[in-house]
Symmetry: C2
Subunit: 308 residues, 2 copies
């Protein structure tokens, strides 16, 4: 099949991200199956609810399954678990994977495409960055606050027809979607923001983006952490212009007392993606010869503070 | 006068350190005047009480004064304020200082001798490191838990007769006292421990020395912070052997769930000496060309967490 999005699609990890993107795909006519645990009964009886910009979108019925064996082999598997739960994929994914199955991770940070590629082959792996503010407010209910853009690309390959087909399916579902030629470069660009702001918001004791920027000393540290990540990214072959870091700081000034997703996770007692956002970039930067002392300290403290 | 300790001695900062060392000097016959504020009336009526190793030492009467004008010019002024309160010295010290007056700081970290030297002349400045566990448990009452050793030296000069005279006065008061030839080298040696352990105990969310050592990741960070401080100290001309850092880690393993003094200060809502222990070493290390990224991150986070 040339268009994997025209076939059977599994959503693994039916938290806010999985329900939102999978729900919109289902509404637009795709054949979407949701793997669900705690929300299974609610979803079977009442479907999914997406509240967005004052509107409530009801999706009912949805195809919610208790096991991946029940779902069976798919054309496209969308992984929307927390990166901290990747070990669960070893048991979850095999029933879904046939010779043609593609794997698309919507997870944060570095290392998730690699995780899939090592186990099920690099050639079937794609990734996407989600720029979205979401919250799962009740079983089967997702609140959508802002944005939603996807940047989708192949794992260590330029985009192909299948990349554009998947992107078109998301676009047809009403999601602003861009195809990117270098997925890992985009991941590093996003990390340039996530590393300092998600990290300092937790290590600073539970503070917002505005707090980080208002304190000149923290703002300077945030900028230095960005510069270190930029240096690491360039050593790894990613072209990111000098102006990008400064732009990220300026862009953040308009965010106000915004709480990064990792801070929300931490404050709610949920796992924080410490390895994907800080550990893996630190390891890759060190291996590339970059000076990563600032990130090392932040990473180690986050491991302790989040009990990772 | 050849022996400053034989003349009038002022104790500025009558917290645990000032009351303990000043109290023992007074008991041994020195002419000690305590500048006191909150403890003034209690000290005038009941003297000072030092509880140490099951014994209670009562010192009554003590010469407690409300102002330094009341004390007047001294031969020796012992500064035992928190380093965070140094600005108060600008008004407190002038009435105490005549042409021959010596200034001895018992404060922690870097920058305190410099503070005194810049204002009242380097030639009159001495410093001492206190290796002691103390707590002021009530007005006029100090609990002494362990140790008490002083290492006393001249500011950027080798020791002299006056250094030995002052050291002898402390020795005669029952305090183990050593004269050191390079005070700043000793300060860096002490910082090699204080920087990681005091710092990580706070930034780790309120953890003990045993917690830092039990977590391999934090222990490795502690060791790296020590190596950075060692590199900075050497660039600044201080000779500290390689084995010293490893020895500090091993020594700490016998401490158990020990809470560094900065952690106790932080948890009690008292000021933490962030500039003296982290800020000034970081600045001096950077100026000497050392790579201080780990310390930068720790320092900035401590500024925020302690609201310094």
């Amino acid at each position: 099949m040339n268009d994997p999005a025209a076939g059977k699609i599994a959503i693994i990890g039916a938290g806010a991200v999985g329900c939102y993107y999978g729900g919109l795909l289902a509404r637009s006519g795709c054949d979407v199956r949701f793997l669900m645990r705690s929300d299974l009964e609610t979803a079977r009886q009442h479907g999914l609810t997406i509240k967005t910009r004052g509107k409530t979108v009801k999706l009912s019925p949805v195809r919610a399954c208790a096991t991946t064996a029940e779902i069976g082999v798919c054309e496209l598997v969308i992984v929307a678990l927390k990166a901290t739960a990747n070990a669960a994929l070893d048991e979850l994914l095999p029933p879904l994977i046939g010779p043609q199955t593609l794997l698309l991770t919507l997870q944060n940070g570095l290392g998730n495409e690699e995780y899939l590629a090592q186990r099920w082959g690099a050639e079937r792996v794609l990734g996407a960055l989600c720029f979205v503010c979401l919250n799962r407010t009740a079983p089967g209910v997702v609140e959508h606050y802002d944005h939603g853009t996807l940047c989708i690309g192949e794992f260590r390959r330029p985009s192909a027809e299948r990349t554009r087909n998947i992107a078109e399916a998301f676009s047809a579902a009403g999601i602003e979607t861009h195809v990117v030629e270098n997925l890992l470069t985009e991941r590093w660009r996003k990390l340039l923001w996530n590393i300092p702001f998600n990290g300092l918001s937790i290590a600073g004791g539970g503070i917002t983006v505005a707090d980080v920027l208002a304190d000149e000393r923290l703002r300077s540290l945030a900028r230095h952490l960005m510069d270190d990540a930029l240096d690491a990214a360039r050593r790894l072959g990613h072209e990111i212009p000098d102006s990008f870091a400064e732009f990220q700081i300026e862009r953040s000034c308009s965010m106000g007392p915004y709480k990064p997703s990792s801070l929300l996770d931490w404050q709610a007692g949920r796992p924080v993606e410490v390895e994907a956002i800080w550990g893996e970039p630190w390891r890759q930067g060190v291996a590339a010869g970059a000076s990563m002392g600032r990130l090392e300290t932040l990473y180690r403290l986050l491991q302790v503070l989040t009990k990772s």
